[in-house]
């Protein structure tokens, strides 16, 4: 089992407020790593460091090292980095375009112009995201007409279209009903065969169901990291135990 990404001594400040403190984390290839913790613990902040989305914000200071395949992500061109590391957000955010154009957006941005190739990519991505059968009859329909669960799978397909190596999920099911949530969890379990997955969730049961490794964060620090089996049957840190037992947060 290889490490796909490694985080070492990561510290982050929003202005003067320190949101991440001395974070160490290994993300293993072709596994699902979940990050859990109470609101405000920094888990979303942490995941956004991985694809440098925090660069888009003003007044953010970052110290420490983040590597992918042993390469410093700040030395890789950010456009290439974000192609290799995709992100699915909490609120499904399909572009106000047709389903086809949504998925083709990424490849077009990166230079694919051939129409036949684009059609292939769109079909392949929709199949991988288990959405093809539901939309194949009308790819020109506006993406905004899809249901919430479908929109989120569309966003996943859109991310898959640029052929990433790592996919980051930031509370992907928060805005969805239980059936859609289950579909997406099943999808994530399937995706890990070909991709490395990191998921932030405030739903502990989801983390238990879906992930291989779990990291527990509290007030900007990573208090425990272990296999999901161990975290949920025998955690070592008492705060971890309190949190997953529902005693706070």
């Amino acid at each position: 089992m290889e490490e796909k990404m490694e985080i070492e001594d990561l510290n982050l400040w929003y202005g003067t407020f320190q949101a991440l403190k001395d974070i160490e984390l290994d993300i293993y290839e072709n596994r699902v790593t979940a990050i859990i913790g109470p609101s405000g613990c920094g888990k979303s902040t942490l995941i956004r460091c991985l694809n440098r989305m925090n660069d888009l914000l003003d007044d953010v200071t970052i110290e420490g090292e983040i590597e992918m395949d042993d390469e410093d992500i700040y030395k890789i061109d950010v456009v290439t980095l974000r192609k290799r590391i995709g992100m699915v957000f909490q609120k499904p955010n399909p572009f106000p375009m047709s389903i086809f154009d949504n998925i083709a957006y990424g490849p077009k941005i990166h230079g694919t112009k051939d129409k036949k190739k684009l059609r292939e990519i769109v079909e392949d991505s929709l199949k991988r995201a288990v959405l093809w059968d539901e939309v194949k009859d009308d790819l020109n329909k506006s993406a905004l007409d899809l249901s919430g669960g479908q929109q989120q799978r569309l966003c996943i397909a859109r991310t898959l279209a640029v052929k990433p190596e790592v996919i980051l999920f930031d509370e992907p099911c928060s805005a969805l009903d239980p059936i859609s949530t289950r579909k997406i969890e099943d999808l994530i379990a399937k995706l890990k065969e070909n991709y490395t997955i990191v998921i932030v969730t405030h739903n502990m049961q989801q983390a238990a169901r879906v992930s291989d490794f779990t990291a527990f964060m509290y007030l900007g620090k990573m208090l425990e990291f272990d296999t999901t089996k161990n975290i949920f049957t025998n955690p070592k840190n008492e705060k971890t135990e309190s949190y997953i037992s529902g005693r706070f947060g």
Binding site: N51, M53, L56, D58, V79, T80, L81, R82, K83, G86, M87, F89, K91, N93, P94, F95, P96, M97, S98, Y105, G106, I109, H110, S142, L144, C155, R158, T159, V162
Partner: protein, 276 residues
């Protein structure tokens, strides 16, 4: 109980507003429709505007608005884009915004005076379409800047995030996400400006307008325009001229309506996918 009085008041003010609008339009239509004819539209004015048509004025207004837009739209939209996408929110952006809002409030005659002093006299451009158009551009620039800025800011952050997360650059995101989604608001701003640019007399009266029914051959020539022609006819006030004045007013209103409506259709087509 109080609610009823408020409703009545609101209802009444709506009726009064509508009636004023209908009254003005009705008045112009009534008095001016007799002047309308194909001739009126394609002939040049004769006998000082008593007879003939208003074609040079129509053409002139058209040229002036074009020049105004050519100057104001890139500056306004570009400036707004810079403010929203490339500049952190700070004291400078607040100053620019304040300046634009102030400019909006300045009476158009002052623009006319400025245009005259700077363009006509200092830059020695003389009284011509270019001077008039640029003056009009200064006048509508704040409107275009502010409405474009509002439209650009209204583009939801999560669409931009989605674009960046796929590996798009800032320029690609602006081109593919920000501009298409803000087009509706930007066009609205431009449409408002067209109406103003076409109809204001004061900015062009010193900078572009002449009384001779001569068709301009280049931007360096002066020209007639609908509002200035209207002004002239009314100030010389013979019965025939008055009728033609109403006719001119009617033509002006109709032209602005056509332009506005076309812009709405244009906007509807381009924003068919956008969330409501």
């Amino acid at each position: 109980m109080k609610d009823k009085y408020v409703y009545a008041l609101l209802w009444a003010s709506t009726i009064v507003t509508a009636m004023i609008l209908i009254f003005i339009l009705g008045f112009v239509v009534l008095k001016g429709s007799s002047a309308l004819s194909v001739e009126f539209l394609i002939d040049i004015p004769r006998r000082g505007g008593e007879a003939g048509g208003i074609f040079p004025a129509i053409l002139g207004t058209f040229y002036l608005v074009i020049i105004a837009l050519v100057v104001a739209v890139p500056l306004g939209v570009g400036g707004a884009l810079y403010l929203v996408e490339f500049q952190k929110e700070n004291i400078i952006t607040k100053i620019i915004r304040f300046g634009a809002d102030t400019l909006n409030a300045i009476p158009s005659i002052i623009f006319g005076l400025f245009g005259f002093a700077f363009l006509v006299y200092y830059l020695k451009l003389g009284v011509c379409i270019l001077s008039g158009g640029v003056t009009l551009a200064f006048m509508v620039l704040p409107t275009i800047l502010r409405t474009s800025e509002e439209a650009l800011r209204a583009v939801p952050g999560w669409d931009k995030e989605g674009s960046y997360a796929l590996g798009a650059t800032k320029l690609q995101t602006i081109k593919n996400i920000v501009l298409p989604q803000s087009l509706s608001g930007i066009i609205t701003g431009i449409v408002l400006s067209i109406g103003r640019a076409a109809g204001e007399t004061a900015p062009i009266i010193f900078t572009a307008a002449i009384l001779n029914p001569v068709l301009p051959e280049s931007v360096f020539d002066p020209t007639m325009s609908l509002p200035s022609h209207l002004y002239t006819l009314v100030s010389e006030s013979t019965p025939e001229k008055l009728v033609n004045a109403y006719g001119t007013a009617l033509v002006l209103i109709i032209l602005v309506l056509i332009t506005t409506y076309s812009a709405m259709l244009f906007r509807k087509y381009f924003t068919r996918h956008v969330r409501r």
